[in-house]
């Protein structure tokens, strides 16, 4: 059930009506929980047991930690919880990756471990809900959070359907207090969330899905294409992945908001970032802050020597890359970002420039934005390419303008990219909230009707699944 499909709209309308017409708050949350499980079961009902197991283990571990005075026992419970969560990830997401990598590593030494890869179906959203539950137990262990005593509330936190399959990764400290009080219908900014849903729909269905065929064509056989075509495809992939993921996030935030819950931001015009450090403050914010708080800082953060900090940064980004997918190309993507972040830190140290507003001239900022976008595009090549061989061909064309292929892509796609870049820049100056607030009360409904019709008119006839569902 994709957010862009009519079935989801029917499902959401039913949940919305039921939730808001249920007087009792406990029942209301049970309605949302049942809807969330139904939503997940619509993908694959067999994995309901997985999400239930994860929920039960973390709920019990957190309660046990709270009840035991012994710090070693608390640590034991935390380790048990992390082992279950990471074990599930390892088994379902990384098993084949580990086996294939081991086979590759051992082959030069003459050791053959045969074909041990299993036909494992990746449970949708597993990377998201395991990180979410892990943050809960870690926060309880750190004493930052009081564990919940209501299993239903905790289960709803883990499985809340708008963010279940592709985030944002909501922190318990942000979401659980919202479950403690009943949302008020009058307090909800309905116009903002309706507009946000439509904006997300347009990003995903009208932009990401529309450019996807051109991107797929080039990334499938990069050696056939000329350098200009590779350039267009890489630029369009940058558009596609942003519109796909942030479009999904917008719709998730809007659905949650219409039900009375805030999920927090996940994107803030990332392609306007003036450095890679800035980029990671704007791209997939819920993951980057998770990695910062639960990986980078526990590794030692920037508390030690310079080299120690750089090591931590690199490790965090390598694991961040691996989180996205069980392939070495994702690790390479993370490594490139890690190296970029280290380079930026080193540049700041040497020049004393932070790149933040007011400290550098406008031209330098613009140059920084262009360079950052170019670097991000180079890294996207590894994120999207099917192999290192393909990535090398694409990178050669994108960096050196050197390609053996001759096939071209339609030049108007470059104009489309320019138009979308302009919209991205303009939208950062006129946030959606302000735009919606500027529409007179009586005009919102007709304008929304026209906008909905136009959005649907530009939808490709076949929807593609969201890219981040595979993670």
């Amino acid at each position: 059930m994709l957010f862009t499909q009519p079935l989801f709209l029917v499902f959401f309308a039913a949940v919305f009506g039921l939730a808001w017409s249920t007087r009792d708050d406990r029942r209301r949350k049970l309605v949302l929980l049942a809807a969330s499980y139904l939503f997940y079961a619509a993908w694959d009902w067999r994995f309901l047991s997985l999400i239930l197991a994860s929920t039960a283990v973390d709920f019990a571990a957190a309660l046990a930690m709270e009840r035991t005075p012994s710090s070693s026992a608390r640590k034991g419970w935390l380790i048990a919880s992390l082992t279950v969560n990471l074990g599930m990830l390892a088994a379902f997401k990384y098993f084949n990756f580990f086996v294939e990598s081991a086979a590759l590593l051992l082959r030069p030494f003459g050791a053959e471990i045969g074909d041990r890869a299993l036909a494992i179906v990746l449970p949708v959203g597993i990377s998201f809900f395991t990180f979410q539950t892990m943050s809960y137990t870690i926060d309880v262990y750190r004493g930052k959070l009081v564990p919940l005593t209501s299993f239903a509330d905790f289960a709803l936190f883990v499985s809340f359907f708008p963010q279940l399959v592709a985030g944002p990764i909501v922190r318990a400290a942000h979401f659980l207090p919202q479950l403690a009080r009943r949302p008020r219908w009058a307090a909800i900014d309905k116009r903002r969330y309706l507009a946000l849903f439509l904006a997300g729909f347009v990003k995903k269905a009208c932009v990401a899905d529309a450019v996807a065929p051109y991107v797929d064509r080039v990334f499938a056989r990069p050696e056939l294409y000329a350098a200009a075509a590779v350039w267009i495809a890489v630029l369009l992939y940058a558009v596609q992945i942003y519109c796909d993921f942030s479009g999904y996030t917008d719709m998730a935030i809007a659905c949650a908001g219409l039900l009375g819950y805030d999920l927090g931001p996940n994107f803030n015009f990332p392609y306007l970032a003036s450095s890679l450090t800035d980029f990671w403050r704007r791209w997939h914010i819920s993951l980057s802050s998770w990695l910062r708080d639960y990986l980078f800082i526990p590794l030692g953060g920037s508390r030690g020597t310079r080299l120690f900090t750089y090591r931590n940064l690199l490790l965090t980004m390598l694991l961040g890359g691996l989180w996205h997918g069980a392939a070495w190309t994702f690790v390479a993507w993370g490594a490139l970002h890690g190296l970029g972040l280290v380079a930026h830190k080193e540049w700041i140290r040497r020049t004393g420039r932070t790149g933040r507003t007011g400290q550098t001239c406008r031209t330098l900022r613009l140059l920084g934005t262009a360079a950052t976008f170019y670097a991000v595009c180079c890294a996207w090549i590894f994120f999207r390419a099917q192999s290192f061989g393909d990535a090398a061909v694409l990178l050669k064309a994108f960096v050196l303008f050197d390609a053996a292929g001759t096939l071209a892509l339609e030049p108007w796609l470059l104009a489309l990219f320019a138009a979308l870049a302009a919209v991205h820049a303009l939208a950062s100056r006129m946030p959606l909230e302000r735009l919606v607030a500027a529409v007179p009360d009586g005009l919102f409904a007709p304008a929304y009707g026209v906008a909905t019709a136009l959005a649907l008119a530009f939808v490709p006839m076949r929807a593609a699944p969201f890219i981040y569902f595979q993670f």
Binding site: G449, A453, A457, V459
Partner: protein, 349 residues
Amino acid sequence: MPFASPPTRRGIARWGLFLLCWGLTAALVGRQAGFPEMGTLEDKLRHFAVHGDEYDVIFVGSSRIERGVVPPVFDAELAARGRPLRSFNFGVAGMEAHEANALMRRMLASEPARLRWVVVELEGWDPVLENENRFKRRAVFWHDAAETWSALRSTAALEAPLAARADLASTHLLHFAARLLALGRGPDAVRSLARTAGQTSPDLERWQGFKPYTESSYRYNPLRKHFLDHPDDYREAIRRLEDGAGVAASPADVAAVRAQVAMIRRVGRRSVHLVPPSPRAVPRLAEHVPALLAFNRPRDYGELFAVDQRFDHEHLTQEGAERFTRLLAARFAAEVLDEEPDRLAALGR
């Protein structure tokens, strides 16, 4: 109540306004978009928009019509018989019965001045939408109210499990909704805004809609290759055709073809149904149509089924098409025109 208040008049009015603006915009987009891209159709429509009033006869159907009926030959043959008429081939590759209806409804609404006979390829009204065709613009386009209703009736009459019929019915309804909402028609609307009227390809003008196979078709067409490589398949198909006289028409087929005849009659035109020479099984609907010109009888029209006259199983070569057209013109003159001499006399032809 958790809601601030029961729905107010203002709230209901806003919903109404929202739906009204949505519907109006979708209708405008759909109207502007016109037909989706289908082979040569756009070119033919553009030609017909300018020259529609010059034609007395149009042929509507699939590639069997587009590649099989040669209007200049048809016109010359009728002229030689003292019946000077002009015809146009509106055949389009892949066109099915429902789609042909949607096309005719649009074309006939423009009331072409001289048009008298609509020759339609007779086909079964199969409601099954193959997976690869689902939600393609063409499939969505023909789902207007009349065709959707017809498809739903055919679906109900299918001999299939209830669940399969329910799934198919819901698919047709979703196509109808997609058409109503002008889903995915934006690019067509933009294209039609940029489209210039008038100029069409010289080949189209020369052949009046007939599309001859090109040299490269003979070299690279996979269906042609299959036809040449597997002659036994073709012989077997012909043998089956000789054994049976088509398939039994379902009640849905009967209702649909009657509705088609009535639709053409309502706008003052005469329908003539045509079965081109092809091994394809066609429902037996002769008694439900006013005129039927069937050429799918290898015993009577062996020359049209000769291997050297065929491009592949379904289609004729240009030589075969011209031969078929001459036979078609002869039967058209004898079985259709001779029935209404008074009317022709009134027209002064």
